[in-house]
């Protein structure tokens, strides 16, 4: 298209240009209050731009063939593969252990209801019985030394009653497990400026009765938050109406109990408007 500068000149001109623009962008980002990582990101894009412009004016590559071409291809694939693997590894990584714990809590009860889960439970019980029997046998061997109290089999305890506070704590767990936080803000006593797609729920315990909260969770179309009429009417972004299928009654009870405790009258939790089905 036009005469090209030498390789060194090309790299020097574009590189220094990229450096200057990158520093200017990073400086501007600093002045505008962007955190350091974003300043670095802007600098990186300036250098990427410089690299692109270096390539545009790079001299033509001489044709190669035969073994040289094959070697060049293999080297090219190795570089590409490495760049993509390293590239994918450089981004922040989600820790699967966080999710494993969540999944375990969410699915353990559901699994217990399946044939496989029931079988596993029976196996676990049988194993426990077997272990107890072995323990008894070993204790019997030294029976002359120990008294009967030592081999008393512990009886299963009756199911403890869940107090209001415990129920709310279980509700907070449900809040996290069902990932309600992805769409709703609750500050739990801490300052939060974040806005999310759903209404703030810091004062939901004052604005709604427990029964209304339950209805909203199970039948989201039954109540509409003031100021969210547009989202409510459009198809996309509405609250999912799946929780009545996915949550156990006790889980809903706990979540409702937790939400009724949220009574921060300074929060901008919207009023609700009943909707005729």
């Amino acid at each position: 298209m036009s005469q090209q500068p030498s390789v060194l000149k090309n790299v020097a001109i574009k590189g220094s240009g990229g450096l200057v623009i990158g520093l200017m962008l990073a400086g501007a980002a600093y002045a505008l209050g962007f955190p350091l990582i974003f300043q670095a990101m802007f600098f990186f894009y300036a250098m990427l731009g410089a690299a692109v412009f270096m390539l545009l004016d790079a001299p033509a590559l001489k044709p190669i063939s035969g073994v040289k071409a094959v070697a060049a291809l293999v080297a090219f694939y190795i570089v590409l593969s490495s760049v993509y693997i390293v590239g994918a590894s450089l981004w922040p990584q989600y820790d699967p252990n966080d999710e494993k714990e969540k999944i375990d809590k969410l699915l353990s009860r559901r699994k217990a209801m399946t044939e496989e889960g029931k079988t596993e439970e029976l196996i676990a019980r049988a194993k426990a019985l077997s272990e107890k029997a072995e323990a008894l046998m070993s204790r019997l061997e030294s029976a002359g030394v120990k008294g009967v109290d030592a081999v008393a089999v512990s009886m299963p305890k009756s199911k403890p009653k869940v107090s209001g506070g415990d129920l709310a704590a279980l509700g907070l767990e449900q809040w996290n497990l069902q990932e309600c936080y992805n769409c709703h803000v609750i500050s739990l006593g801490q300052t939060s400026e974040k806005k999310k797609r759903g209404p703030n729920l810091d004062n939901v315990g004052t604005m709604l009765t427990a029964e209304q909260i339950r209805k909203k969770i199970l039948y989201p179309r039954s109540l509409m938050a003031e100021g969210y009429e547009k989202q409510f009417k459009q198809k996309k972004g509405r609250m999912p109406d799946k929780y009545r299928d996915l949550m156990f009654e006790e889980e809903v009870d706990a979540l409702v109990a937790f939400l009724t405790t949220l009574k921060d009258d300074k929060a901008d939790t919207p009023k609700v408007i009943p909707v005729k089905e």
Partner: protein, 573 residues
């Protein structure tokens, strides 16, 4: 021994017997086999992804093969005919690989997830047992007929051969749509209502209800366009290999041209791909709004950052190919463009971010601003003749275009926070709140549109250069062959990445919200782990495809005469 001791002994013995008997009776069938090293889920992932890659090629390639054959018939340019036939040769070889990996996929699935596989097959029995096998057999017959009648059905009978190719595409597309039924069902199986639960709904749903789910048609469209893109880039890869191995100027000339056509098809279809992907995501979010934050703000958010990087690289590379291609056009200096084009190019990401924030898609006003803006450079100089004086060189237009691709990509990739999930966001990693709009959909949409707009402008420019100048086939910068290979590799890698995302959207379910995955592997893997496997799958696919190309098209076989070698008017037929 005292009585109580004897009683205790008997009790312990009884307990032991009962416990052992219970343990023996309740022990389940031997657990499904566990793949060493990879584990079951990754094993299924590898085989499924390989199958999809081969299937994508054998479904995508025939679409442009037939178009190419038809163009050859219409224009009497033998290069189109040769391109069609050579790509078909590779397709036939890879067709066997598709069947092989498909069979392997079913075996691995049955061995590792027998309950789920049986459950799915029962839900789609008619598809798996009758429709899909019949379609596959029909496609096999038509593909081999199409290939083996190539020389017999020529001249006056050519139309029949083209018709056979069209039939092949119809069957291929129907096959794709049919198998997308169960695939999309796993992502969006349907919904219950106020009166019935999702389980009751599925129990009474017809086969059509299950197939025609929320994400079925968007997935069909996304895959159809994706397959054409993929086929185009693989054609480019074939051309690059053959160009490198070409022994004569004539061969180089032909494969240079083939690379150009493959890239044109790949990029042409690629322009629609972001919007098809957006449509699929839109419908999935419509199905269940909690999928959106999972994709964009939670566990998968960094997968989308990587996707942004890949899309940006693909657009940069495809425009770089145009740049290299234009360098060998004699007389390209004469090609100029109105300065308005550059103005629109520079302003479009910023202006459209504002417009789409004020009038979000699908508000009609979102297009009311975009369309006049996009066509202004073409219309205004005609209405206001004095504007025609203000022109810039093609070189300047393309360079500004590259700058805007980098800017567009920067906007696309700007995250709300540099964290794996927004729940971990901290002040020093987050965008300042007044700049938060950079991480929202209007900004991302305008970035995608900028990439598309710049590429379209570059192709318009390229087209003008070809018409006004003289192109010398076979004389392209050798670096362009590596660009073609890069494009194919990156397109495959991105397909693997987005395939993983689509599959992971089911979270800890085999079928979302319906059938939980109780295995220990039902969590979201890290992007790094996924990156390793996607690269391994891409390389495996590449090795097989490279082998198929070398086997079927090795230079010694390429003897057909082709016009070219010496400079010819670029627009000449």
């Amino acid at each position: 021994m005292k009585t109580w001791q004897r009683s205790l002994l008997i009790m312990a013995g009884l307990l032991m017997v009962c416990g052992t008997a219970a343990y023996a009776q309740m022990a389940p069938d031997p657990p499904a086999g566990e793949f060493p090293y990879t584990g079951n889920r990754t094993a299924v992932w590898i085989v499924a992804q390989l199958h999809i890659l081969f299937a994508a090629f054998i479904l995508g390639a025939p679409i442009f093969v037939v178009i190419s054959e038809w163009l050859g018939y219409r224009t009497q340019d033998p290069r189109y005919e040769r391109l069609a036939k050579e790509v078909t040769k590779v397709t036939v070889i890879l067709y066997s690989m598709t069947a092989l990996t498909g069979g392997l996929f079913i075996f691995v699935l049955l061995a590792t997830y027998p309950d789920f596989t049986t459950w799915l097959i029962n839900h789609f029995f008619l598809i798996f047992a009758v429709i899909y096998p019949l379609l596959f057999i029909a496609e096999t017959i038509v593909l081999y007929l199409y290939f083996y009648t190539w020389d017999a059905l020529k001249g006056e009978k050519k139309a029949r051969h083209i018709a056979l190719g069209v039939l092949l595409n119809v069957i291929g597309t129907v096959t794709l749509f049919v198998i997308d039924g169960p695939t999309s069902f796993m992502n969006s199986p349907g919904k219950g209502s106020v009166d019935i639960s999702i389980y009751e709904y599925i129990a009474q749903a017809s086969l059509w209800d299950k197939v025609y789910n929320y994400s079925w048609m968007p997935l069909n469209l996304h895959r159809l366009v994706g397959n054409v893109t993929f086929g185009g880039f693989i054609a480019g890869l074939i051309a690059a290999y053959m160009y490198m191995g070409a022994k004569s100027e004539r061969e180089r000339s032909y494969y240079d041209w083939m690379g150009f056509v493959g890239n044109l098809i790949g990029v042409g279809a690629l322009l629609f791909l972001p919007f098809m992907g957006y449509l699929l995501a839109f419908e999935l979010c419509d199905y269940d709004a909690s999928i959106c934050p999972y994709m964009m703000a939670d566990q998968l958010s960094m997968f989308f950052e990587m996707q942004g990087a890949m899309v940006g690289l693909i657009f940069l590379a495809s425009n770089y190919y145009i740049w290299l291609s234009m360098k060998r056009i004699e007389g390209v200096e004469r090609v100029r463009m109105n300065v308005l084009t550059v103005v629109v190019m520079v302003t479009i990401p910023f202006l459209m971010t504002w417009v789409w924030t004020m009038f979000p898609v699908p508000n009609p006003l979102s297009l009311a601003y975009l369309i006049p803006l996009a066509i202004a450079p073409a219309v205004l100089p005609k209405v206001l003749p004095f504007l025609r004086k203000f022109t810039v060189s093609s070189r300047t237009v393309i360079k500004v275009g590259f700058l805007m691709v980098v800017v567009g990509n920067a906007i696309w990739m700007t995250p709300h926070a540099f964290v794996a999930t927004q729940a971990l966001a901290e002040h020093h990693l987050e965008l300042p709140s007044e700049w938060g709009f950079l991480a929202l959909m209007p900004a991302k949409n305008s970035a995608a549109f900028t990439l598309v707009f710049v590429t379209v402008i570059n192709y318009i420019l390229y087209n003008r250069a070809i018409r006004q100048g003289t192109i010398v086939w076979g004389k392209i910068d050798f670096a362009s062959q590596f660009v073609l290979i890069f494009l194919a590799f990156s397109a495959i890698w991105t397909m693997g990445l987005m395939g993983a995302v689509r599959s992971l959207l089911r979270k800890y379910y085999h079928t979302y919200n319906l059938l939980p995955d109780f295995t220990a592997e039902s969590y979201t893997p890290t992007l790094s782990y996924s990156g390793w496997w996607i690269t391994a799958i891409t390389l495996t696919f590449y090795i097989v495809v490279s082998f198929a190309i070398v086997l079927t098209l090795r230079p010694a076989d390429a003897k057909e005469p082709v016009a070219g070698g010496e400079p010819v008017p670029a627009g000449a037929k």
